[in-house]
Structures are given as structure tokens and as C-alpha cells.
């Protein structure tokens, strides 16, 4: 078995097409994710103060003070330029400013185009108007409550308290990277399928040659599985190492748990390919097509293409997230990062191991019983 394992390893490592899709492609995709999301984060993190013209037509002390507070300090939100209306319009036209605040009894905002800065300026004005309207209403009805109202508006009570259960932090970008790792784990199915094909005489000349040898079929199959899991485990670790090396990406410090998740994920991936290879009828092409469809579907529901998908499934059909290996892998990484290796993490690992075990048992049972009416 050692010899078969050794040569199977060489075969898998020498299979350039599969190595591209399992190693190079996820790294490229990860880089693409990072470039896209990383740019977005950089934009948010490096927010510049918004240039804005201020035209004071009538005295409004509270709005003037509000604008002043927004323009002061190191993290100033706006860069105000006090001017007259004509000059302000000219500046807006030439895009020197993104908007014009007119200080009046009823303050207003003038913008030229739509955009993030314009939306934020509008949001400031809307908040101001909402607060003043509330205070005015309270003042008319019960002036004694004004002090409490102002306190509550400026320091709203928190319905939810944010606490960190682990050293890590979480953001939406990581969800995509977890889904990418899950996809890579499931891509181990390519090697599983390849092993199944080379074990069956009706699918390949190699299968026929192996079937007439005195080595039991399962010995060859086990060496194939072991070699595939070894290579895929290595590939997933390379991917995780690569992603971890990117700025702002952190998988947390629980290395054994990360390794365990990866190993279980890879095992499920390889066994999924093996089962499709032995159970689905048809040519190699049919099996390949079926395998790619299944893998992508599972990855889709785990949030690879749309990061909220896993939560939508959780809300509407939570059982599917418990049996979808891609979702279990994503959730394991998510749980590790957010809560550490607690009960939810171990539940995921047990479910993954159980799915892998079922796929393995089914593949072996089918392969052992299989007889060939034609080859």
C-alpha cells in the first residue's frame, strides 16, 4: 500500500489541470477577493473630510454649532468654507465642494450629484432636523421633559451590548474567504473522482489493469483516498497560509482547530468525489459535470457568491446548513473566529466527520459490490 500511496501522490501532484483548479485557482480567487474588498475597506478606513460650502443667510445657532463640531478635531467630518450663495454655487459647479449647507431658520443642503459624500452630508442634515423636530414637539407638550429628551437623543440607550468572546474580530470579507476555503476543500472531490475512475474497469483502461491484479480493489482505493486527502490538506494549508499573510486577514490563533476543520473538510470533499465516481452512472464527462454542479451548488449556499446566502438558508431551512459540508466548513471558521472552539464548533466538526464517514461507507459498499456487465 505504501508503494501505491507514493505513486498515487506523484500522479496527483503531476496532474496539472487538477492542481491548477485546486491550488492556483483558489489563490487567484482569494487575491481577487482581497483586491476588491481590500479596496473597499481602504476607502472606508481612509475617509477624507468632505469639502462643504456654508452660506449663512439667517442666524441659527444650534445648526452652526453642529457644523462647527463636525469640522473640528483630528477626525473632522467636513471641511467648511464660509462664503456667499453665488460663490458657493460656483464652487459646487467646479466640484471644489460636494455640497452647500444653507444656515437658515430651516437649514437646507444643495448637492450637484449623487455619491457617498453627498449621502453622508444629507444624513447629517436629516439627523439634525429630526432631533430639532423632536425637541420642539416635546417643548410644546411638556417643557419639563426637554432635558431628558436631549440626554436620550445625544446618548441613545443600547439595546444590544457588543462583546468579544475571542481575540479575533469579524467582518463580511472573512465570510468570503471562509467560503473560498470551503470551496477548495470540496475541490478535493476532483481527486476523489479521479481515484474512483482509475479503480473501475468500465471507466478506464487503468481501472481494468488494476482490477485484474491480485491486490484487493479496496487496498488501491484506500491508497488513492489517503493520497488525495494528503495533497488536498496541503493545498488548503497553503491557501490558509497565503490568505493569512494578506494584511487585515486573520484566522485567529487556534491552529489545531484550523487544521482539524481543514482536514475534515478535505476528507468530505475527497469522499464526495469518490461517491459520485462510483454511484453516478455514465461516462467520465457525465460524472465531472455532476460533480462540478454539486460542488458549486453547495458553495453557493455556503455564501461563496453571495455572502448573505448562508444566513438566508439558516433562516428558512436551517437543516440544509447542517448537512451542507461547505456551510459547515464556513461556519466552523466563522465560529472559531467569533466565539472560539466552543460547542458550536465541535458540533460542526462532528457533523463534517459524520458526513465524510457516510460518504466513505457508501462509496466502499458500492465499489465492493460492483460487477461489470460491460466495459
Amino acid at each position: 500500500m505504501k508503494t501505491l500511496y507514493k505513486y498515487r501522490l506523484k500522479c496527483i501532484l503531476g496532474d496539472r489541470a487538477n492542481m491548477f483548479w485546486t491550488l492556483v485557482f483558489p489563490i487567484l480567487l482569494g487575491t481577487l477577493f482581497y483586491v476588491s474588498f481590500g479596496q473597499l475597506l481602504t476607502n472606508i478606513e481612509q475617509l477624507e473630510p468632505i469639502p462643504v460650502a456654508i452660506v449663512e443667510q439667517q442666524q441659527n445657532e444650534s445648526f452652526s454649532e453642529t457644523l462647527e463640531s463636525l469640522a473640528s478635531g483630528e477626525d473632522a467630518f467636513i471641511t467648511p468654507q464660509h462664503t456667499n450663495k453665488a460663490q458657493a454655487l460656483s464652487m459646487l459647479e467646479s466640484e471644489e465642494v460636494d455640497g452647500i449647507y444653507v444656515i437658515d431658520e430651516s437649514p437646507s443642503l444643495t448637492v450637484k450629484t449623487d455619491g457617498l459624500n453627498q449621502s453622508m452630508l444629507k444624513s447629517v442634515l436629516d439627523s439634525y432636523l429630526q432631533v430639532t423636530a423632536t425637541v420642539t414637539t416635546v417643548a410644546h407638550k411638556d417643557p419639563a421633559l426637554i432635558a431628558d429628551t436631549v440626554r436620550e437623543l445625544t446618548n441613545p440607550p443600547q439595546a444590544v451590548e457588543q462583546i468579544s468572546l475571542s481575540s479575533g474580530s469579524l467582518d463580511f470579507m472573512r465570510e468570503n474567504f471562509y467560503a473560498l476555503i470551503a470551496m477548495t476543500c470540496l475541490y478535493g472531490s476532483f481527486f476523489g473522482l479521479s481515484g474512483a475512475v482509475s479503480a473501475q474497469p468500465n471507466l478506464s483502461a487503468l481501472g481494468a489493469r488494476r482490477s485484474i491484479a491480485p491486490t484487493p480493489k479496496l487496498t488501491g482505493v484506500w491508497s488513492d483516498i489517503l493520497a488525495a486527502v494528503t495533497v488536498m490538506f496541503g493545498i488548503v494549508l497553503v491557501l490558509i497560509a497565503y490568505l493569512s499573510a494578506l494584511p487585515n486577514i486573520d484566522f485567529g490563533g487556534n491552529i489545531p482547530a484550523i487544521l482539524l476543520t481543514s482536514l475534515c473538510g478535505v476528507f468530505v470533499g475527497v469522499m464526495l468525489g469518490m461517491l459520485i465516481g462510483v454511484a453516478v452512472r455514465g461516462s467520465r464527462g457525465t460524472k465531472d459535470g455532476f460533480l462540478i454542479s454539486i460542488s458549486l451548488l453547495l458553495c453557493f449556499f455556503s455564501g461563496l457568491m453571495y455572502s448573505n446566502m448562508r444566513f438566508i438558508v439558516e433562516k428558512n431551512a436551517p437543516i440544509f446548513n447542517r448537512i451542507n459540508p461547505a456551510s459547515l466548513i464556513v461556519d466552523s471558521f466563522y465560529t472559531l473566529d467569533a466565539y472560539g472552539a466552543g460547542e458550536r464548533f465541535w458540533t460542526n466538526i462532528v457533523l463534517l466527520a459524520a458526513i465524510g464517514g457516510i460518504l466513505c461507507a457508501a462509496s466502499v459498499a458500492i465499489l465492493r459490490r460492483k460487477q461489470y456487465a460491460s466495459i
Binding site: C11, R209, I212, P214, P216, I375
Partner: protein
């Protein structure tokens, strides 16, 4: 002498197609048995049934005196198979491929190393040890395919059309190698639709068609079974019906045909057939070109039994 293979009444159906029709085969130790038949005649199916790669609908297969089944590992240990299609790993080198397949039979690493070296020497691939299959020519690839099947020194070697698409030099090399393996003690089953190859190396021949064994014996025995003794072909620019009747009336001639300027005369066994024909042409002042006379071939045997040429039929089985 031990009976190596004894297959009786094998029936194999592919839906409506009867691939093996009560096929019988008995092979004695030390034989090179040629399984001869056109493409689609059932040769490969017969081999696959012998090896238990395929389920059989009826019949029994005994090899080395034991009943063959998919899990008859002790029997399989003594069998080497060279499949029709080259079956090697593209990612492994010549030496690694042979080592892999030898490893399915031989666990001892040192012994295996010796066997692999011997196999490489045997097929003369020493200078290609480190080559990957895609770097090998068709002939070298066939030799690698053979080496993978015989490295473990089996007692029974089954070669399924090992010379398909091989250049004449490699073909001669392969055929010499098969004879050498036989001399070293291996019993050989050799399937082919090339009658010349079968005639050249086989000690006994089974002619099969449509899943049935049509005839068996040595090459000479098979030829003696048929009526044809000699076929004479003569280029004639013109030939009349009256002249044809004259030819057919000659001694030993049992049939004749004329088409595209070529007269074919089929004679029964007997002497001086060419002389009789030439004498007739001369006496009747019939101008002629090239004259070609051939003793019967296995193709003639097949033609007489089935009414078809041996090389008719589909491309694959």
C-alpha cells in the same frame, strides 16, 4: 501437461447482442494460443470474461485448475495481462509505471527492483527509464504497456492485440519478445486480427467470429480443413465469358472470377496449377501481365468458413 485455462460454454450478452455464444477454450501449459478473428468477433470480451472483469451470463472458467472469480487473488497472482489500450499513468515515468504495476503483484521491494530492471531490459527501454509516456513513440509506448503486464513474471500472459498501430520494427520486436517469454516458460494467449502475426508465433490457433469458435488447430491443420489449395491471380486486359468457362474446366479449378482486369482462380489442392493456367492462356492466345500464385492463408480459411474477409468488420470490439 497442465491445463492452464479451461473455459466452457461461455455466454455473454450485451442487451440484444450475443457477444459470446457458448464459447469454449482450452489452453495447455506452454502453448502460444492465437485467438484470431475480425474486429467485433468477441476476442476481447472472451478475454475479459476469462479474467472475471465481466460478469458472464452462463458458463464456467477454470484457470490453473481453480474456479476463476473477481476475488481469486491466488490465480490473478500468476496472470499477466497486456490490454489492447495502453494503460499507464501519464504522470509517472517508464520505470515508475512498471514499478507501480509490478507492485500490485510483488510486495518485496528488492525483488521488485530486480523484476523491474529485467522487464525494462526485456522490452529494451533502458534509455527511456526516466521518460514520461507522452514522450514515448507509439511503439515504445506499446513496449511499456507490455513491460507493465509481464514484469512480475506470470505463468499465463494474455496479450490483447498488442501490436495495433505499431511500426513494423516495434512489431517484430514485440513478436520476438512474446516467443522469448514462451521459451522462458509462460503460456500465452495472443489475440489479434493480423493473421500473419498469429501464423508467425502461435503454436495453436482458434478462429472466432460472432462470439463463436469456428475452428481450431495449428496453422497447417486449419489450412488443410479448407477446399482452397492455391489462389492464382493474373492481370488480363480483356477476358470473355467463353474463356472463363475454359479456365473453370481446367484440372483442380473449382472457382474463378474476373473483375477490374484481374482474374482470380481458386484451385483445390493439387500440383502444377499455375502451369495448367498459363498453358491455357498461351494456347488461346490470351495476352496477360503479372501472374501471382499463393498458397492458402488463414484469411482464406476464414473466408471459406464465414464468407467474409478476416479484416472486414468494425473498428473496435
Amino acid at each position: 501437461m497442465q491445463t492452464i485455462v479451461n473455459a466452457t460454454n461461455l455466454v455473454k450478452r450485451y442487451k440484444e447482442l450475443l457477444a459470446l455464444d457458448h464459447f469454449n477454450l482450452k489452453i495447455e501449459e506452454g502453448e502460444i494460443l492465437g485467438l484470431l478473428g475480425p474486429n467485433g468477433s468477441g476476442k476481447t470480451t472472451a478475454i475479459n470474461c476469462l479474467l472475471s472483469l465481466l460478469t458472464i451470463d452462463k458458463g464456467e472458467v477454470d484457470i490453473f485448475g481453480k474456479r476463476m472469480s473477481p476475488t481469486s487473488y491466488s490465480i490473478k497472482q500468476e496472470i499477466g495481462v497486456v490490454p489492447q489500450q495502453v494503460a499507464v499513468f501519464e504522470e509517472l515515468t517508464t520505470q515508475e509505471n512498471i514499478d507501480y504495476f509490478c507492485g500490485l503483484y510483488v510486495k518485496d521491494k528488492q525483488l521488485r527492483k530486480e523484476l523491474v530492471d529485467e522487464a525494462i531490459d526485456f522490452v529494451e527501454l533502458d534509455e527511456f527509464r526516466k521518460f514520461h509516456p507522452k514522450k514515448l513513440s507509439g511503439g515504445l509506448l506499446r513496449r511499456l504497456n507490455i513491460a507493465c503486464g509481464i514484469a512480475h513474471k506470470p505463468k499465463l500472459i494474455i496479450l490483447d492485440e498488442p501490436t495495433v498501430a505499431v511500426d513494423p520494427q516495434s512489431r517484430a520486436h514485440i513478436l520476438d519478445g512474446i516467443v522469448k517469454l514462451n521459451e522462458q516458460g509462460a503460456t500465452i494467449i495472443y489475440t489479434s486480427h493480423y493473421m500473419e502475426e498469429v501464423e508467425q508465433i502461435c503454436t495453436r490457433i482458434v478462429i472466432m467470429d460472432k462470439g463463436r469458435c469456428l475452428a481450431e488447430g495449428t496453422s497447417e491443420e486449419l489450412k488443410r480443413m479448407i477446399k482452397a489449395g492455391e489462389t492464382i491471380r493474373i492481370e488480363l486486359p480483356a477476358f470473355t465469358g467463353e474463356q472463363m468457362e475454359g479456365i473453370k474446366a481446367l484440372p483442380h479449378v473449382y472457382s474463378a472470377s474476373y473483375a477490374d482486369g484481374l482474374l482470380a482462380i481458386y484451385c483445390e489442392k493439387g500440383g502444377h496449377n499455375v502451369l495448367h493456367v498459363l498453358d491455357y492462356l498461351q494456347k488461346n492466345d490470351i495476352p496477360f501481365g503479372t501472374v501471382d500464385a499463393k498458397l492458402p492463408t488463414l484469411n482464406d480459411v476464414f473466408l471459406e468458413i464465414t464468407g467474409r474477409e478476416l479484416r472486414d468488420g468494425g473498428e473496435s470490439e
